[in-house]
């Protein structure tokens, strides 16, 4: 279209100014894109983890709720324990439908093991979490000496699917589906298998102790009865237990609340930042557009005196806004996406994030959204100039006066 051609030509005539405007839009689009990925990633991890875990109330050793949250949310390894005898008392509390202990062990980044991974032992008799995953995926329950691994654990032993844990090779009987939670990096086994590991020579060599798994639990996962309030159950557990009990109960939400708070405050910061940036970019663009248009009043006057319609002249101005918005937005989204994909690992460590959403479909959708906003901002900024051109009288245009 002729107006687009002229708009392009006008922009090309002032390359420095044009690239500055594109840069403003680029900054806006890139910040919007990156901050959205961060916030979305945090939120979706919290949601997915909560859903995957499927417990209503979690019991952990007193003052270890933070470690539990970091383990769930950030995938930090943990190995806190308490005496398993308390599980019975907990099961007996009013409102508790199911209660099942889990035992956490961490492997070391040493020759003994493939990599530092979280080991999770569960009790098949009471378990309602891992068993349900296995049922969903048609995986038979692991027998003694067998393990099941999350989708991101690489079983890399030579000659078959196995994983080396404390110098013993454990056959991997199944890989779980990818869940995008930290459960993807865990190795699951029954208490019996855990005992095998803890009785190994390497374990003794490392920790100088011979624990008995039947006396140990790290958490108790609780499913509550229908119609009961999670908070009440957690409160009941804490209240009914002895003063000297080593554990406290939390609702899943409370455990996750710190992560949720972090994500909320991140959301807050980024929305303030984006709003500021939005205002700044709009003001900057309006200024530059006004200067550019004032430079060209005479040109518009001449064109109009020769029969050009005001609508077409406005289209030229809006076209310039569109081109700047589109170019800046596109570059902004593309650069951010590439940066995200290339520096994914560094960024997660730097920002203490569990993971970053870098799915192609998600990035495309987000890119489209950011590009749309960039376009709206830029066209809006040029709209003011277009409005001025359309409103001014032809004789003022011809004189080349400032609008």
């Amino acid at each position: 279209m002729i107006t687009q051609t002229i708009a392009l030509k006008n922009l090309g005539r002032r390359p420095v100014r044009t690239w500055c405007m594109i840069f403003f839009v680029f900054m806006l689009a890139a910040s919007l894109f990156l901050s959205s990925v961060l916030v979305d990633s945090m939120e979706s991890t919290i949601e997915k983890t909560t859903n995957r875990m499927g417990a209503d109330v979690i019991v952990v050793p007193k003052e270890f709720e933070r470690e539990m949250a970091d383990s769930l949310f950030l995938g930090e390894l943990c190995n806190f324990t308490f005496d398993k005898k308390w599980v019975e008392n907990i099961s007996a509390v009013e409102g508790v439908a199911k209660a099942s202990p889990q035992l956490y062990m961490e492997t070391l980044d040493a020759a003994c093991c493939a990599a530092p991974v979280q080991l999770v032992a569960y009790d098949p008799e009471t378990d309602f979490i891992i068993t349900s995953w296995l049922e969903d995926e048609n995986i038979p329950a692991p027998k003694k000496g067998e393990v099941i691994v999350g989708s991101l654990v690489t079983a890399d032993a030579e000659g078959g699917d196995g994983i080396l844990l404390f110098n013993t090779l454990f056959p991997v009987v199944a890989h779980l589906e990818k869940t995008d939670t930290n459960y993807d990096t865990c190795v699951f086994m029954t208490y019996e298998t855990a005992q095998e590991i803890m009785s190994s020579e390497k374990w003794y060599e490392t920790f100088r102790e011979e624990p008995v798994t039947d006396e140990l639990a790290s958490t108790v996962m609780i499913r509550i009865e229908n119609g009961v309030d999670k908070k009440d159950v957690a409160r009941n557990i804490n209240f009914k237990m002895d003063k000297e009990s080593p554990v406290s109960a939390y609702t899943t939400n409370t455990i996750m609340s710190e992560a949720m708070d972090a994500s909320e405050s991140m959301k807050g910061y980024t929305s303030v930042l984006i709003t500021l940036l939005l205002v700044l970019v709009i003001v900057a663009l309006v200024c530059v557009f006004t200067i550019t248009i004032n430079e060209r009043t005479k040109e518009f006057g001449i064109l109009s005196s020769l029969g050009a319609s005001t609508g077409k002249l406005c289209q030229i101005v809006l076209g310039e806004g569109f081109i700047i918005g589109f170019t800046g937005g596109l570059i902004g989204c593309a650069v951010s996406a590439v940066v995200l994909i290339i520096f994914k690992g560094t960024l997660t460590v730097l920002l203490e994030l569990p993971r970053l959403n870098t799915g192609f479909g998600y990035l495309m959708m987000l890119g489209a959204k950011c590009l749309g906003i960039a376009l709206i901002v830029s066209v809006l900024a040029s709209l003011y100039s277009a409005w001025k051109v359309s409103r001014s009288e032809l004789h003022t245009l011809i004189k080349g006066e400032e609008l």
Binding site: I2, I6, L303, S305, G307, A308, S309, K312, L394, H395
Partner: protein
């Protein structure tokens, strides 16, 4: 074809109102070559602006082909300038950032009709001896050449009336002659031509001569 009745434009300067154009009755018809002379500041440009829809008159009427057009909207006037009435601005009015050919074609591509007159433009450039300058930028043209381009631009869409404000000012005799000859030929072909000038020397019997003084127009 175009008639004005009691056309008046009042400006104010230092709180005093004065009529830049005062109750002008004027008529121009196909084939007419009218020349408007008068001292600087007498209101020639103001009058031209009114009959081309660039400035709105304060009172009086403008009739074009029998219809009152003085109250038409800006869009209607723009469309009229793209079809029936062509206006050549006083002074240099080429767009510096566009080539000669673009200068001629652009206004019409941007008009509400959006027509491409490239072939016609090349033809008219040939008539003015500018065919090898079609892709030149105005800065590389002489003053006389630039003026010829501006005139060519006014004729490219075959208007009924061409109004040119001082089309020959600052030009040498040769360039003046080229332009006047072109106007004369076009008038003979049935176009209505209205120009203003300070130079009384070239006025001949084929032209209708009007004089303006302090906004008042009289026929000579």
């Amino acid at each position: 074809m175009l008639i004005t009745k009691q056309l008046t434009k009042t400006f104010s300067r230092q709180k005093n109102d004065f009529d830049a154009v005062h109750e002008v009755d004027f008529e121009i018809n196909p084939g007419d070559f009218c020349v408007l002379t008068g001292p600087s500041g007498c209101g020639k440009s103001t009058f031209f602006h009114m009959i081309c829809g660039i400035t709105k008159p304060d009172s009086g009427e403008i009739l074009f082909d029998g219809q009152n057009i003085e109250k038409d909207s800006a869009q209607k006037w723009a469309a009229r300038r793209a079809t029936d009435i062509s206006y050549v601005l006083q002074g240099d009015s080429l767009l510096a950032n566009f080539t000669v050919l673009e200068n001629i074609c652009l206004p019409h591509q941007l008009s509400s009709k959006s027509v491409d007159l490239k072939d016609k433009a090349l033809e008219i450039l040939r008539e003015f001896g500018l065919e090898n300058m079609a892709d030149e930028y105005p800065a590389n043209l002489s003053g006389g050449e630039r003026r010829r381009v501006a005139i060519a631009r006014a004729f490219v869409h075959d208007p009924k009336l061409v109004v040119a404000d001082e089309p020959t000012s600052d030009l040498d005799e040769e360039n003046t002659k080229i332009i006047l000859d072109y106007f004369t030929r076009q008038a003979k072909n049935g176009k209505a031509i209205l120009i203003s000038t300070h130079d009384l020397s070239f006025i001949n019997d084929e032209m209708k001569h009007y004089v303006m003084k302090k906004g008042v127009m009289t026929k000579v």
